[in-house]
């Protein structure tokens, strides 16, 4: 009997490789235009237009030079030329660009039109939002000399707000240490503080960004997050992407944010 009992843990250990690669046959996929375009006051118009791919296609998205992109505002229609490149300020690649700089006021509406091959047309619009300023930054240490950071701002009581909050450590070139979206459903009109865990140390340079975002961008980001989480989570329901554009997939919005940089010191 004892020998049998000794064998049991061995059998268990031998059998613990619980993942394996399998073959999945996917149905054919008709590629759709994918648009990613963020407008920022004071900067030129840039857009990335690619195509969606079947999941097991090669990773590189195919370029589609014949696509035309237009930004329309007031009574203007500005064409963004196909001129792929990399923007060092935003860290983003783009496929289309114009030299026109944006000079918008809150409340103005900008539109996008993307004309692709096979009669594909993608349209969308964005309404310029006001900036929500960060009113206070504060940090506190625990007994292990780690600091948490508190970021405070005043929510506008007269409108429903959606926020994206990001914390970068050291440089905007690195991935954000914290990144979340939320609404003011529970905090409408209140002085609101976003806290962090005890993640920081003396000498850390923190770059805080508080974006005041549109609902359509909020919905898009949440659906992207849900769709990603559903892949690999047996408890999740699959989610369809809530694009802010029609006729394709993607996001067309304006970025309005307050950004502050602080260096964590022993004295707050």
């Amino acid at each position: 009997m004892k020998r049998i009992l000794y064998l049991l843990p061995l059998v268990f250990l031998l059998s613990c490789d619980m993942e394996k690669e399998i073959e999945v046959v996917l149905p054919p996929h008709e590629p759709q235009l994918v648009v990613e375009c963020y407008l920022e006051n004071g900067y030129t118009f840039e857009a990335t237009v690619l195509e969606s791919s079947s999941y097991f296609d090669p990773p590189t998205a195919p370029a589609i030079p014949s696509t035309e992109v237009y930004i329309m505002y007031r009574d203007k229609r500005v064409q963004l030329n196909y001129n792929p490149g990399y923007n060092n300020r935003t860290n983003r690649y783009y496929t289309h660009k114009s030299s026109t700089r944006m000079n918008a006021k809150p409340g103005e509406t900008y539109r996008i039109e993307v004309i692709g091959t096979k009669d594909r047309v993608v349209t969308g619009f964005t309404t310029i939002l006001p900036k929500v300023p960060i009113s206070e930054l504060e940090w506190k240490f625990n007994d292990k000399d780690k600091a948490l950071l508190l970021t405070t701002f005043q929510d506008d009581p007269d409108m429903t707000n959606y926020y994206r909050y990001m914390t970068h450590v050291g440089s905007m070139k690195k991935n954000a240490r914290r990144d979340f979206v939320t609404d003011d459903n529970l905090t409408n009109g209140k002085v609101t503080t976003y806290g962090s865990a005890y993640d920081y140390e003396v000498g850390d340079t923190l770059i805080l960004s508080l974006f005041n975002i549109e609902k359509q961008y909020y919905d898009f980001l949440r659906s992207v997050s849900d769709a990603r989480n559903a892949n690999g989570n047996p408890f999740s329901q699959p989610t369809k992407i809530k694009s802010s554009v029609q006729g394709g997939i993607g996001i067309f919005t304006n970025l309005v944010y307050d950004r502050k940089t602080v260096i964590i010191k022993e004295d707050n």
């Binding site: 690649y93 459903n185 529970l186 503080t193 769709a227 329901q237 989610t239």
Partner: protein
């Protein structure tokens, strides 16, 4: 059919069968002589008159006999037959019967309490029965005997996934099961995120699962009724039994308070994995970058008091309390999550005379979860609960030999707390709260008749009137129920049933699993009650000298106003939760074949289910119907129990099921986001549940080795779950493959399995 016409129809049926010869009632309770537990489904027969009855859930039988002298015979599997001469004269009489167990209890492996003949002749159909005794013989995951998982081996009953104790009955969801423990509702019958049920097998006597053909006294859920009965205390002596297992231990004490008057039973169990994880955390606490393992454990307690103040009154007080705890503490950060059920039920059964009984119960039940999170000066608390107080009374009246009339009423006061959030900071500068509370009232009244028309044909027909009031809106409904049995021969019966069911409260669960954070929500002016109708046809045939019973049942179920949620619905903290609901419809149909053998050295059953289950919502899947995750085309269960010798039982269970339906992304697109850098991959999903996991199958083996302790009884129970180490799929995901420079070079599909072969051993004792 309008209510008045229906009642007139019942009266007509009753009147048409009046005018019998003068008969007298003989009734009583059949109990086990060793511990006085009532024996459910024992056969009490009078061979001379070719008549008989079987005992009900309280061991009670009643016969209506003409004057004369007869031989009364009582049989029950595992007990010695009993015979007594009785003289029926001018008055009703009560005859209590105590059966002695067969000398060697291991002579036969008993897999069900009811005989196959009784099942053949039972008016009811679509009912599965199970005793703790049976479940304890079968192999179990981690050696944890689980009545619900054993029920999953019956045709028409599926689990949500491997290892899950969720019940999916004939295409219904886990929220559509009415789970009753001694007549009180248990809202969340699972521990450990659905891997174990809350029913401690030492505290439970037996379980009945109604898959269809619901009797009129049951209402409130669409798809099944799980009627769980607790053990009574031993009337003869104080007894102790328990077990020490791989992940938990259990202990039960029962006995008489006053012989033949009052008994008690107390039972508890607790897991102890947390003891080891705490030890590991303590050893490693000084290691840099060590992340402590969260604490997890659950416990539950059952208690029952039985009191018999007069020969005509039986009073019982039952209670259940169970909690799961999940906690995590690190520097400046603490997280705790606990959830569980609390239940108390007072039952009073009064016998007016051998033809009229009433059972009245007052119960309170609740389920709640609490999440507490504290990060330095900030604290966050989220809780939801459902609390019920129920008063119900059920009458059983046997006005004539061929009729058993049941009628009664129930009222339930519901209270719901939905997503109550509190957020605070120590300096009070930050605080907000959210969440809603709802009050609702549910009621039901019913009348049914079990009518033995002649030797071949018997009918059961009834009507339930139910209603629900919440936020000023009242819903009412008539729920007709009917069942018929026709004996083609002494060995073959045809059965049919129809049941209409209403469900007024709904589970807000936006995931594919039963999670403790799933919350109950009442019908409101915007959220209408769910409704189902089920039609079932069956045939049962007894063969092989009465050793085998084969049953085939065909069913079709329509489900109206089914509930799902919008994509990305926020079901946690949302004061406008109703806006996240979607309403649709469903259908389920299939065929179940069940072959069983309950006598002899080798016993067991073979079940095969062929079924289809769909849902349809305008806002999901572009309005096209889709299969549910638990839509299972083929489902096979083979369970065998063999008594090798006096000390050793061998058991095995083989299951095969079509893979669960699930969703996979069919395409993807790149997204740089405002962060830029390398674009991330965003999956694009198409039709819901359009893929299938590979089929699941496994073999579980078990053995029960009787020991010879100096005192009492003891055994070692061995289990090998998934004996041939099959990698059954739990889910599939797509993975990004990267090269040495972290560049994406392709994509592949990976399948994840949950349980390899899991051996376990449990030591059980009783004295």
């Amino acid at each position: 059919m309008p209510l008045t016409r229906y009642l007139l129809f019942i009266c007509f049926i009753l009147l048409s069968s009046a005018g019998f010869a003068q008969r007298y009632t003989v009734s009583g309770i059949v109990r086990s002589a060793t511990d006085s537990q009532p024996l459910i489904g024992a056969t009490v027969a009078v061979p001379e008159l070719k008549t008989g009855a079987s005992t009900d859930t309280r061991g009670f039988y009643t016969l209506s006999l003409p004057a004369g002298s007869y031989q009364l015979q009582v049989t029950y599997i595992g007990y010695q037959p009993y015979s007594q001469t009785i003289t029926v004269n001018s008055s009703a009489q009560t005859i209590a019967i105590a059966l002695q167990p067969t000398e060697n209890k291991l002579q036969e492996v008993i897999v069900e309490t009811n005989s196959l003949e009784q099942k053949l002749n039972d008016n009811r159909m679509s009912v599965e029965q199970l005793s703790s005794r049976e479940a304890k013989l079968l192999p179990a995951l981690f050696g944890e005997v689980d009545l619900i998982k054993t029920l999953q081996l019956k045709p028409g009953v599926q689990s949500g996934g491997e290892g899950s104790s969720g019940l999916y009955v004939r295409g219904g969801g886990p929220d559509q099961n009415l789970v009753l423990l001694d007549d009180a509702v248990i809202y969340n019958p699972s521990h450990l995120f659905g891997f174990f049920s809350v029913f401690n097998p030492d505290a439970i006597r037996n379980v009945e699962l109604y898959k269809g053909g619901f009797p009129a006294q049951f209402g409130g859920r669409l798809s099944s009724v799980l009627d769980v009965r607790m053990n009574r205390g031993n009337n003869e002596k104080i007894g102790v039994n328990g077990g020490i297992g791989l992940i938990s231990s259990r202990l039960t004490i029962d006995g008489p308070i006053k012989k033949d008057k009052a008994t008690f039973l107390i039972s508890g169990r607790r897991t102890y994995v947390d003891t080891f994880t705490r030890l590991i955390n303590k050893v490693n606490k000084d290691k840099k970058d060590y992340s402590p393992i969260p604490d997890y454990y659950f416990y539950d307690f059952n208690a029952r008091l039985d009191y018999k103040p007069t020969p005509y009154d039986e009073i019982s007080l039952s209670g259940y309390f169970g909690r799961d705890f999940f906690t995590f503490n690190d520097a400046g950060f603490s997280f705790s999550f606990n959830w569980g059920n609390t239940m108390g039920a007072l039952n009073w059964r009064h016998t007016f005379n051998p033809r009229l009984f009433v059972n009245t119960s007052l119960s309170a039940t609740g389920y709640e979860y609490n999440i507490n999170n504290k990060i330095d000066v900030f604290s966050f608390n989220l809780r939801s609960d459902v609390q019920d107080v129920t008063l119900k009374t059920d009458f059983e009246w046997r006005p004539a030999e061929k009729h058993t009339i049941k009628f009664g009423a129930a009222g339930i006061k519901h209270g719901f707390t939905v997503g109550r959030l509190n957020f605070d900071s120590d300096d009070d500068l930050q605080n907000f709260s959210a969440g809603n509370t709802y009050q609702a009232t549910e009621f039901g009244a019913y009348l049914s008749d079990d009518f033995q028309l002649n030797a071949q044909l018997s009918l059961n027909y009834g009507l339930r009137f139910s209603g629900f009031n919440s936020q000023g809106k009242t819903y009412t409904a008539l729920e007709p129920r009917a069942a018929a049995r026709y004996s083609l021969s002494t060995n073959t019966s045809l059965k049919a049933s129809y049941a209409s069911m209403m469900q007024y409260i709904h589970l807000v669960a936006n995931s594919g699993a039963s999670l403790p954070t799933d919350i109950w929500f009442p019908s409101t002016p915007r959220v209408k009650p769910q409704r189902s109708q089920q039609l079932a046809l069956g045939v049962s045939h007894l063969f092989g000298d009465g050793k085998y019973l084969i049953t085939n049942e065909l069913y079709y179920k329509w489900m109206h106003r089914q509930i799902d949620f919008r994509d990305g619905a926020n079901v946690f903290v949302n004061d406008s939760l109703e806006n996240e609901f979607l309403f649709g419809k469903g259908e389920s149909y299939g065929n179940e074949i069940y072959l069983e053998k309950i006598k002899g050295r080798t016993t067991g059953w073979l079940g095969y289910t062929l079924s289809w289950t769909y849902r349809q919502f305008d806002e999901i899947n572009d309005g096209r119907r889709f299969p549910t995750r638990y839509d299972r085309r083929h489902d096979i269960s083979l369970v065998l129990l063999h008594k090798l010798n006096k000390r050793l039982h061998l058991t095995g269970a083989f299951v095969y099921g079509t893979g669960n339906a699930f969703s996979l992304p069919v395409a993807r697109f790149p997204l740089q986001d405002v962060q830029g850098k390398e674009p991330g991959i965003v999956p694009i999903y198409s039709d819901r549940n359009s893929f299938r996991l590979q089929a699941s199958h496994r073999l579980d083996l078990g053995a029960v080795w009787k020991l010879k302790p100096k005192r009492g009884e003891a055994d070692l129970t061995f289990s090998a779950y998934n004996a041939y180490n099959r990698r059954n799929p739990y889910f599939v995901y797509f993975e990004q493959m990267r090269d040495d420079e972290d560049q994406t070079i392709g994509f592949r599909a990976k399948q994840v399995s949950l349980f390899p072969v899991i051996p376990s051993v449990t030591y059980n004792f009783k004295f």
